[in-house]
Every structure is written in structure tokens, then in C-alpha cells.
């Protein structure tokens, strides 16, 4: 019975099901934020999660991984993310309710006055800094750094994982060329985050929590942060084992698990498998479909969106802001698209020119 349940959960942690479930959960979280943020819903949910965790810890494979000193940050991250996200969403839910009734929101009830950066904010930050430093020192003394033997280029570990906070990036590297996933996309993430205040000039939500007035902004940011970052870190920690293969959380990490996951490029799918003519010699002809697809996705899609589905945003934001926003959005969405293509259709690269180290 217990074993059957474990195996069922392992089955659910197939990447397609796991990632789809996370996406659906995110959709539901945003749609029903008035419901789940209530303590009478959140408390049973937390209880259920803890009970499930207790059950998970009875499995030796999961336990071994979960109590590693490397993975303490994962738990800190999980608890902090869930609690702080709940807290802000709870306040937002109350505020949205209050404002719908025409009453002042929680922050206004507290005080109508503004607080100063100095000394109010800076002092809070100073105190946080001191406490956090003390916490880090305590942590460093309590848990030894999980160091291994001196580096040896001849010995390859069966599992090579990045630091926990980079596991999302490492997952991204599975689907994209190192240049794209290691340089272009992280740069776009940072530049995009820096650029948010310039693209999103809506001043609603300044100084108070709200979901209703900032629904799209919170939805998109949370999709990038919760789904494409936190959930992928979780996936990288508990579901990626030796050979960077997928494993269920209760599955033994067998380095000799036989997994065959061949994948092929778009050029091979179209020229060889569909048209049956073999790959053309000329690189440009060979990759022509990929170029068309990428040009359409990056060039035509934003324009199309500006004219149709996102027309109101285009009119509100103006051309420059809108196209920056649309490109960043499209690039962000390209990651889950590529993940699904790989998982479902063994799809490798849209454009693959290894001759020039250029792959998308």
C-alpha cells in the first residue's frame, strides 16, 4: 500500500506531469487567491503538506537527500517562499475585499502617513542584517560544509549539481545551448528585472498589497519566479539524479538506471524524417526552417500580439515599452515551450549550427 503510493507519486513526478501540475497550480493560486489565503483553508493545506512531508521522510531515498546539509537552503527557501507569499497574498485578498466595499485598505488603516527611508527603513535593514549575519555564523558552525575530496579531473561524479540557487539555470541548460542558457537568457533575466519599473509604470499597489489591481503583473512575475525558478530548483534538487536523469522523489538514485532519451534537431525532423531527402550540405538551406520559425517567433509574434490579444497594452504602453515587454515575455515563455518539446517530442534545437557554435 505504502509502496504503491510511493510509486504513484514517483509516476506523478514525471517531468511533464510535474511541470504541468505546477503551472495549473499557479493558475489556480492566482484565480482563487480569495479562497486559499484564508487561514481556515491555508491551515488544513499546511497540515496536509506537513503530513505528506512526514510520509515522504519515511522513505529512505527521499530522507537521504532531504537531510543533506546542501539541501537545508531548499527547506529555508520553501518555507520562506510559501509563508511570505501567503502573507502578501492574504493582505492583498483582504485589501481587495475592503476596497471593493469602498473601505480604506489595511495599510491605510494602519497609518496615512508616509515613512522615511532614513531612519525607518535603513534601521530595519540594519537589524535584519545583524540578525541574518548571526544566523549565518550559527549555521556555519552547526553544519560542516559538504566538501568532497580534492578536485581530480579523472574522477567524474555520477551527479554534478550546481549550487542550489542555480539549479533552475542548470535545468535551463538542458534545453538550450550554453550560449543561450548560460549567457543570453540570464542577462535577459537581469536586464528584464531591472527594466520592470520602466516598462510597468502603473502606480497602483504602491504602499499597499493588492492582487486585483495588479493581476497581470503579479501573474507574470510569479510565473517567472515561482514556476520557472523555485519549482525548477525543487525539480533539480529532488528529481534529478545520476547522469542528470529524471528520478521520482522516492526512487533510488541508481547510476546505472537505463534511460534512453535520444533527441533530434528540427532540421533532421523536417529534412530527413518528413521530406526524406537527407540533410542539405549548405548550412543556411539546412537550417532554413529554424530561421523562419525563430524569426516568426521573435519578430512577427510581438507585432501580431500588439495588433490582437495585447492591443490594449500596446495602446497603453506605447511601441517601445510594449515591444520590450513582449520580447521579454516571449523569451520567458520559450523556456517552457522548449521543455515540453523536449519531453514530449524528443526535440533538440530549432536552429543547430554546431559548425559555428550556434544553436537555439
Amino acid at each position: 500500500m505504502v509502496q504503491a503510493l510511493r510509486e504513484f507519486i514517483n509516476f506523478l513526478c514525471n517531468p511533464v506531469i510535474y511541470f504541468t501540475a505546477v503551472c495549473v497550480a499557479w493558475w489556480a493560486i492566482m484565480k482563487y487567491y480569495q479562497v486559499w489565503t484564508q487561514p481556515r483553508v491555508m491551515l488544513p493545506l499546511t497540515g496536509f503538506a506537513l503530513a505528506f512531508l512526514a510520509f515522504a521522510f519515511t522513505d529512505k531515498n527521499f530522507y537521504g537527500e532531504a537531510v543533506k546539509p546542501d539541501n537545508i537552503p531548499i527547506w529555508v527557501m520553501t518555507i520562506a517562499t510559501v509563508f511570505l507569499f501567503w502573507l502578501s497574498m492574504r493582505r492583498a485578498a483582504i485589501n481587495d475585499q475592503l476596497m471593493a466595499e469602498g473601505k480604506p485598505n489595511l495599510e491605510k488603516q494602519e497609518s496615512d502617513k508616509k515613512v522615511y527611508t532614513w531612519p525607518d527603513l535603513v534601521y530595519s535593514e540594519l537589524i535584519c542584517m545583524v540578525l541574518f549575519t548571526a544566523f549565518l555564523i550559527f549555521w556555519a558552525i552547526m553544519f560542516k560544509a559538504p566538501l568532497e575530496d580534492p578536485a581530480n579531473s579523472g574522477i567524474t561524479p555520477a551527479i554534478a549539481k550546481a549550487p542550489w540557487y542555480f539549479l533552475g539555470l542548470q535545468e535551463m541548460l538542458v534545453y538550450y545551448d550554453p550560449w543561450i542558457a548560460g549567457v543570453v537568457l540570464p542577462t535577459m533575466i537581469i536586464v528584464g528585472l531591472v527594466g520592470i519599473p520602466y516598462m510597468d509604470f502603473n502606480s497602483k499597489g504602491n504602499g499597499y498589497y493588492t492582487v486585483k489591481e495588479r493581476f497581470v503583473a503579479i501573474w507574470l512575475f510569479g510565473f517567472g519566479f515561482i514556476v520557472l525558478w523555485i519549482a525548477l530548483i525543487f525539480l533539480g534538487t529532488f528529481m534529478r539524479g545520476p547522469g542528470w536523469n529524471f528520478f521520482g522523489p522516492f526512487e533510488e538514485w541508481d547510476a546505472h538506471k537505463v534511460v534512453s532519451a535520444p533527441n533530434i534537431n528540427l532540421s533532421e525532423i523536417l529534412w530527413v524524417k518528413t521530406l526524406n531527402v537527407g540533410l542539405p550540405k549548405n548550412i543556411f538551406v539546412r537550417e532554413i526552417f529554424g530561421f523562419i520559425l525563430v524569426a516568426a517567433y521573435m519578430g512577427i509574434l510581438p507585432v501580431y500580439l500588439a495588433k490582437t490579444y495585447l492591443k490594449q497594452y500596446y495602446e497603453k504602453m506605447g511601441a517601445v515599452r510594449f515591444y520590450l515587454f513582449a520580447i521579454l515575455l516571449i523569451v520567458m515563455i520559450s523556456l517552457p515551450i522548449k521543455m515540453y518539446l523536449r519531453w514530449l517530442f524528443a526535440f533538440k534545437y530549432v536552429i543547430s549550427i554546431p559548425e559555428f557554435l550556434f544553436n537555439i
Binding site: 579523472g154 535520444p262 533527441n263
Partner: protein, 165 residues
């Protein structure tokens, strides 16, 4: 007397060229010294060529004896050819593991998989494992020259990189 030798403002500025030249020369010297510093006087590198014994020392399949010391896998095929594969994954440079039961090289970092030929068929690696030049020396030993390598499968048949034994 003293007032006559004093520089006026215009004359003072007319001497700036000397200051700028001095400044540029000094900055130039410092920068070139800094640039020189980036290139070490001595580089302790292993010779790029190494001997790998006789072909008879090898049985058909992937041989890992030079993985640690030379970062090379020697592969002997049943068509009596040999080639030398680089142990550097073409995705991000980790060292894959040879899984003999599955007859593949599997990279632990992002899951790239390579066939014994070095062909990339799993995971994100965009190119096959690189191959090094392989030849016989006058005594009949196999010599592998890591300074020469090929990157793409189309070049595999070049005689310099495929040893007939």
C-alpha cells in the same frame, strides 16, 4: 621682478600639452605592463603528444586507461580501426562517464549522452565528442596528438584521425 616671471593663465594652459603627453606615456607604460602581466613567463603544460602503446594492447571497445592522465578515451572498433576521443563534453565541458552496460558516455551535468563513436544523441550537447589526431610512430606505437582535433562528424573519416590497425 617676481611678478614678471609669473605665468599668466593663458601661458599656463599653453603648457598643458606637456602634461598630457607625460600622462599618456605613464598610463601607456602602466597598461602595457599590466597587459604583459596577463601572459605568464612559463607555462607548465604537458606535451600535447603522448604514446599509447601497441594496438594489440587494446581490445574492441572503449578504453579508459588514459582518461585520468591525458583526458582521452581510446576506442577500437571491430572494423580494426582506432580513434581517440576527447573526454570533454561538447555542451559545457564536464567529463562524461562511460557506462559500459549501456554502451554510452553520459554527462552528469546536463545529461548529454554520446555513443561510443562520440556521436551526440541525448541531452543538449550540440556536437559529437572531439577526436584527436592518432598515428603510429616508427616503433609501431600509437601516438596521439592532442594539438590537432576535429569537431564534426563529417571529418571522422580523415586518415589522420582514424587509425587502421
Amino acid at each position: 621682478m617676481a611678478e614678471e616671471t609669473k605665468l599668466n593663465r593663458r601661458e599656463f594652459i599653453s603648457w598643458f600639452w606637456l602634461g598630457w603627453i607625460t600622462f599618456s606615456v605613464i598610463v601607456g607604460i602602466v597598461l602595457s605592463a599590466l597587459g604583459r602581466f596577463l601572459f605568464p613567463n612559463v607555462l607548465f603544460e604537458k606535451p600535447s603528444k603522448f604514446r599509447a602503446g601497441m594496438p594489440t594492447d587494446y581490445s574492441v571497445g572503449v578504453d579508459e586507461r588514459f582518461k585520468d592522465t591525458q583526458s582521452v578515451w581510446l576506442v577500437k572498433t571491430n572494423q580494426n580501426t582506432m580513434y581517440a576521443l576527447s573526454t570533454v563534453c561538447t555542451h559545457l565541458g564536464c567529463t562524461p562517464n562511460w557506462l559500459s552496460s549501456e554502451q554510452k558516455f553520459k554527462c552528469p551535468c546536463h545529461g548529454s549522452g554520446f555513443r561510443p563513436t562520440g556521436l551526440n544523441y541525448e541531452g543538449p550537447a550540440p556536437r559529437p565528442l572531439e577526436r584527436f589526431a592518432i598515428n603510429f610512430d616508427e616503433t609501431g606505437n600509437i601516438v596521439i596528438d592532442k594539438s590537432k582535433k576535429i569537431m564534426n562528424a563529417s571529418e571522422w573519416e580523415q586518415s589522420e584521425f582514424l587509425l587502421k590497425v
